[in-house]
Symmetry: C3
């Protein structure tokens, strides 16, 4: 699948960044059996958090969508770092998206679509995933969005 | 197990609704190995969200319990849609329940019991599950509760 | 690995408490395949919640770190109860840490390090894990932190 994902990314004009180092004492991914767990990713771009603040208050929904897309790009970058070769990814299983918002915000699905749409565009059929989208009370470093993921790896 | 669950649901006076379509660009469930991941379910009833607002403020704890129960019914409806036959479900593994509340609310366990009690009533021993219950900062469309689940499937 | 963990805990001056009973109608852990899912743990000590309140407001970040460490001790206590023998734990896979805070808090990674640092100290290399750290809108009984975990079990 590697070539397909890389071709799709090229069409999308996206080059995967270097996988971000974790913000603390943990690791960015763990493989167990056929599952690859990726730690919660922030909307990092060029080594810093590109979107901070509360979506729907400090930031527009469109900004939130872009933040979610950046989280998804970083998820794929971690999957690349974990596997060395994206063809070892069988499919995306699930994401959980946390939006930084005030208590009256209700457009989490629209925001996390920024990630879902990108992942399906990049991975095709294999990018379809289960999902939960909620607001967090607050997020690390005031990031606008945080997203974690589980991928399924191909059998060895 | 199918007959048992269906018999239990009949005793409980619950008929599974048609599985709700996702609110965005993702899928309601993904199977990987023996695991079935169900996307976060809202308290849908008759095609619309039956309970909106903040539990403990706009809504009573009892309303929250009913919302959690509706989420659980929708989780089972998705499991039915995913398997075509609930006898393919070996057990419930885990749920995460997100309650829509203000910052001073502490009765998340009582609210999410609305789901846990229903799932154990419907599935019997196989319905016992690990669980986290927290408040979200806010939920999609101001839903009162959102719950996601992992089921274990029987070996093929 | 049991002896190593027990030796490490002794060096750390930590004795595992009796695994806490769940606050509601669910079970503290479920095994499925090689995975052990532990329910969200609160900062229990001597049978009660030792740290309550909002980190960064009612509580210092240092209090939050200690709360996270207590959650992690309870996660290990549950793993001990689940396996009867910690040598059956192959590794820690992932934790999700929920911090009780106001909307302007951004030090979730530092707080959840209280758990991550302890787990690596107790488990060594096998303790490295994927992680998400977010704030909840509120937590059960006003607990300062709640953490859930997935462990990988050794093959039978």
């Amino acid at each position: 699948m590697s070539n397909i994902i890389l071709q799709n990314l090229e069409k999308l004009g996206v080059s995967l960044p270097q996988a971000a180092a974790p913000a603390a004492n943990y690791v960015p991914y763990v493989k167990t059996g056929n599952q690859l767990f990726i730690s919660g990713q922030l909307p990092m771009q060029d080594g810093k958090i590109a979107k901070t603040g509360k979506v729907g208050a400090d930031l527009s929904v469109e900004d939130g969508i872009e933040a979610a897309r950046l989280c998804a790009i970083n998820l794929l970058a971690q999957a690349q770092a974990a596997t060395g070769d994206l063809s070892k990814i069988a499919r995306l299983v699930k994401i959980v998206g946390f939006v930084n918002s005030k208590g009256d915000f209700g457009d989490q699905p629209k925001v996390i679509n920024g990630a879902s749409d990108f992942l399906v565009a990049a991975m095709g059929e294999a990018g379809h995933h289960a999902r939960s989208a909620v607001s967090a009370g607050a997020l690390p470093f005031n990031a606008a969005v945080e997203i974690e993921a589980i991928f399924e790896l191909v059998d060895n």
